[in-house]
Amino acid sequence: MAEIHIRNLVKKFQGNVTAVDSLSISIDDGEFVSFLGPSGCGKTTTLRMLAGLEDPTSGEILLDDQVLFSSSSGRYVPPEKRGMGLVFQSYALWPHMTVWDNIRFGLTQQKVPKDEQNERIASVIKLLQIQGLEKRYSFQISGGQQQRVALARMLALRPKILLLDEPLSNLDAQLRIEMRSELKRLHERLSNTTVFVTHDQLEAMTLSTRIAVMRDGKLQQYGTPMEIYREPANLFVAKFVGSPPVNIITRELSPKHFDSALKFLGKRGEGAEKIAFRPEAMMINPSAAAQESRWQMKGTVAAVLPTGPEWILQIESEQVLLFARMETEPKFAAGDHCTITLDTPAFLIFDAEDNRIT
């Protein structure tokens, strides 16, 4: 068992900057939870508080029934007693030690008997497929291999919880995909409870059982990847997840479209201030064919961007630029007129506070 409960966690830095603002979240045993958000949203700070490297200003952290930190009782468990393994963004391999020594160091500190040390090191080396690198130093191996060593170093200690702080952000694009699937494979195999910090929505989407989207220290939404994508709690979450980004129509910027859409939505649109829809929800046709059950608007193709498996269309309509995604080759060129058609379920509707109504 390894469940984490965070209650009303607050972290204020010098100068009264609130990095984390009354965060409450529970992570179930065996979950892979991502903290997702832009830089400065408090995700890394939260992870460091979990690890015990940073003291919270107030709140509680529990691991199963054990209180790791509590501002009310003053209890604080130091990092090495928490049973957590942390992999840093920079990997933080000790450059003066070989791969083998890097992994062994922690085992020695934990007073693991020598025979077991060797056994465990051999097994994590096999697990992470870094055989043959044992005698190398960190500067002699590639970034991806360093990453694996950093993981091996923590896994050798058999942590109850694995904490990963943007572990993929220093890798190049190719390696990142490779390590991403490696992480998924590892998690499926070991089923450790894992907390993963990232600003890359794609990583969060592909890896997580649940995602916690954060902004300015506040939790925006906590849910499965599909919930986050399909039912964003607010406009920020809708905008942060998805690429190309969600299309937004507002009352001020495109009143004509906004009014027509509101009329089409009828009762559902009550209280709406902003209307959004995903690029793949748009159907693009050369000419308008009146369809009562759907909403339509006219536009001009501004650019066609083929990505290989699909095509991104940039469409200008009433001075607004919209992104559409097509799976078949479009028969459009820049400058062509077109009609955009949307189904009712495609609409994400937000109120004046940017919270989603439906």
Partner: protein
């Protein structure tokens, strides 16, 4: 226009000339290579030639004609009965003294760096700035202050402050090993402080945090993670300090010679004074070789250290260790170091210059005579330094020489950078880089002696330059070239060739490109490249000790002259002026660059 297809010789030459006029870089490169080869390698070759050939004065002793090959000098220095006092004893003393200075300054530098970088010690910014001051002041300032405080009757001049106060210091306190080591330690600890400081800052905190995560205790982290990471800085600062102590002359001269405590540098000085050119050359070679060995080891370690450079993590989590109850002792310690290393020496010098008799602190003992009197009765009618023609002349010499040197060194540095970038990766660029680095690894005293050897007599078309200001300018420019060249190359590297190429395409001729594109963009760096040599030049003593003659005294050599005459207060007053000028320039430099003296400190 020319016909590009014309293959006749005249057309070819004409095309080449046209190109050269359009882009004189090859011409500049040729000039640099020729001049630097002579000015950097020449002195070293001259040493070999003088050290292994019979000198005029030794013809009868050796029994061979002048100029023939001989190992007489080598024998005399290493194996003859006089070799003990000529070489072995000074060598042994130099090594012991270097080692003690090294251990002391490394320890002091490390403790200071730890307090100021890794703990929540208050006013760390202020203290960091102040700790660099001893490095800015001329190294012999401390020796001078020591003499002022502790000198006894063994040498001429007024009584030292301690003796006036009723305590006559014994010789071992006043002169020799003890004071030399202590004063060198206080002038050199900033070096290791700076190195440790910057490497402590660059050690990724995540390295320590991951050690904490796997359960290592604080002292284990310090011993197994942090200290190994600091090893390169330790080696570097150690070797730099050794190189400095071996090459320094002022302090051993001031504090060693009264009791004949001779170090390698003063032994060399003695040989030159006695006119023993052959022996001086051999001694210089030894000093040069030690210097080269030391710096080569350092370069090796700097390279080794490169592998310790890791992907840096997030810098925002620089956890500073809480000092707690140690806060007061830590600050007290910093204040004491500051007092002893900078306030006390400078105050001693300053107070001595406004006291009739040193060590008496009454109002009627106060005087400005040493500064402004037309004639000082105790000093045989010499006038105060601000109206003393000798001092004014030497100050004017210093300013003139050093100004030319800074422009010269800065200029050559810029051109070296320019050529290196234009010919990036070529043999010429590599040769220039190594050549311009060589003066850095030659200990200063050896460099000065080598220049004396090369230019003392006429060689081929090049006349003897000894006794001219030009020789001092040349020697200083080349000695400071490594810094200037490094600054120049770094700046040009940063600039790249594109801005100039863009101007080339616009049709701008070379002069326009260089002075209207390259120079203005690099203004800041170039100014740094000029002010830095100026500061070094103003306080330079060791390099010029062989090159300055009574006809062209510099401010620094004037100080030595006054000490020799026993005019302690005058020497101190001139030193105060030098320190004052240097401080102002350093502040100016900080204003211009926004950073300061610490940048451009390391060679390589």
């Amino acid at each position: 226009m020319m016909n590009p297809d014309d293959r006749s010789l005249t057309a070819l030459v004409r095309r080449r000339l046209y190109r050269l006029r359009h882009d004189p870089t090859p011409f500049i490169a040729f000039l640099l290579v020729a001049a630097l080869t002579y000015l950097v390698l020449g002195p070293l070759l001259a040493l070999l030639s003088e050290g292994f050939r019979v000198q005029f004065r030794d013809i009868s002793r050796i029994g061979e004609p002048k100029g023939s090959l001989t190992f007489y000098y080598l024998q005399r220095v290493f194996t003859s009965p006089v070799s003990e006092s000529l070489f072995w004893l000074p060598l042994q003393r130099t090594l012991v003294m270097s080692l003690v200075t090294l251990v002391g300054s490394v320890l002091l530098g490390f403790i200071l760096a730890w307090i100021l970088v890794r703990t929540d010690c208050p006013a760390s910014g202020f203290f960091t700035k102040m700790m660099i001051l001893p490095y800015i002041a001329p190294s012999w300032t401390f020796a001078l202050a020591w003499l002022t405080l502790f000198k006894n009757r063994r040498i001429a001049g007024p009584m030292g402050i301690m003796e006036t106060l009723g305590y006559a210091p014994p010789d071992w306190v006043a002169y020799g090993f003890f004071p030399i080591t202590v004063t060198l330690l206080f002038s050199l600890f900033p070096l290791s402080f700076l190195l440790f400081g910057s490497s402590l800052q660059s050690v990724d905190v995540q390295l320590e945090e991951s050690a904490r995560m796997v359960g290592a205790r604080k002292e284990v982290i310090l011993r197994k993670i942090v200290l190994p990471m600091l090893l390169p800085a330790l080696m570097s600062s150690g070797l730099l300090i050794i190189s400095r102590t071996i090459g320094s002359f002022g302090t051993p001269y001031l504090l060693g010679s009264p009791v004949r405590y001779t170090l390698l540098s003063t032994a060399l000085y003695g040989a030159v004074q006695r006119g023993e050119q052959g022996i001086a050359s051999i001694l210089t070679m030894v000093i040069v070789l030690i210097g080269v060995a030391v710096v080569s080891i350092d370069i090796y370690f700097v390279k080794e250290a490169k592998r310790f450079v890791t992907v840096s993590g997030k810098g925002s989590f620089q956890n500073r260790q809480k000092l707690g109850i140690l806060k007061v002792p830590a600050v007290l310690f910093l204040i004491i170091v500051l007092m002893v290393s900078i306030v006390l020496p400078i105050a001693t010098l300053l107070i001595s210059t406004i006291s009739y008799r040193m060590g008496i602190f009454t109002l009627d003992n106060f005087t400005l005579d040493y500064w402004i009197a037309p004639s000082i009765s105790q000093l045989a009618g010499i006038s105060g330094i601000l109206r003393n023609p000798d001092v004014i002349r030497s100050a004017w010499n210093s300013v003139r020489i050093v100004s030319v040197v800074s422009l010269f060194a800065g200029g050559i540095g810029t051109f070296i950078g320019y050529v290196s970038v234009r010919y990036s990766g070529s043999k010429i660029a590599g040769y220039l880089k190594q050549l311009s680095f060589l003066p850095y690894i030659i200990p200063t005293i050896g460099f000065g002696a080598a220049y004396l050897t090369l230019f003392a007599v006429r060689r081929g078309p090049i006349p003897s330059l000894y006794g001219t200001m030009f020789l001092i300018i040349l020697a200083m420019s080349i000695k400071y070239l490594p810094f200037a060249a490094r600054a120049g190359t770094a700046a040009m590297m940063q600039l790249g060739t594109e801005p100039e190429e863009a101007a080339m395409i616009c049709g701008a001729p070379w002069r326009e490109r260089f002075f209207k594109i390259v120079v203005p963009i690099l203004k800041k760096t170039l100014i740094t490249g000029i002010i830095l040599p100026f500061i070094s030049g103003m306080k330079e003593l060791t390099l010029v000790i062989f090159l300055a003659t009574p006809g062209i005294e510099l401010m620094t050599t004037q100080v030595l002259r006054y000490i020799d005459y026993g005019y302690t207060q005058l020497a101190n007053a001139v030193t105060v002026v030098i320190i004052f000028v240097i401080m102002i320039l350093t502040l100016l430099l900080q204003k211009v660059t926004g950073s300061g003296i610490t940048s451009g400190l390391r060679g390589n």
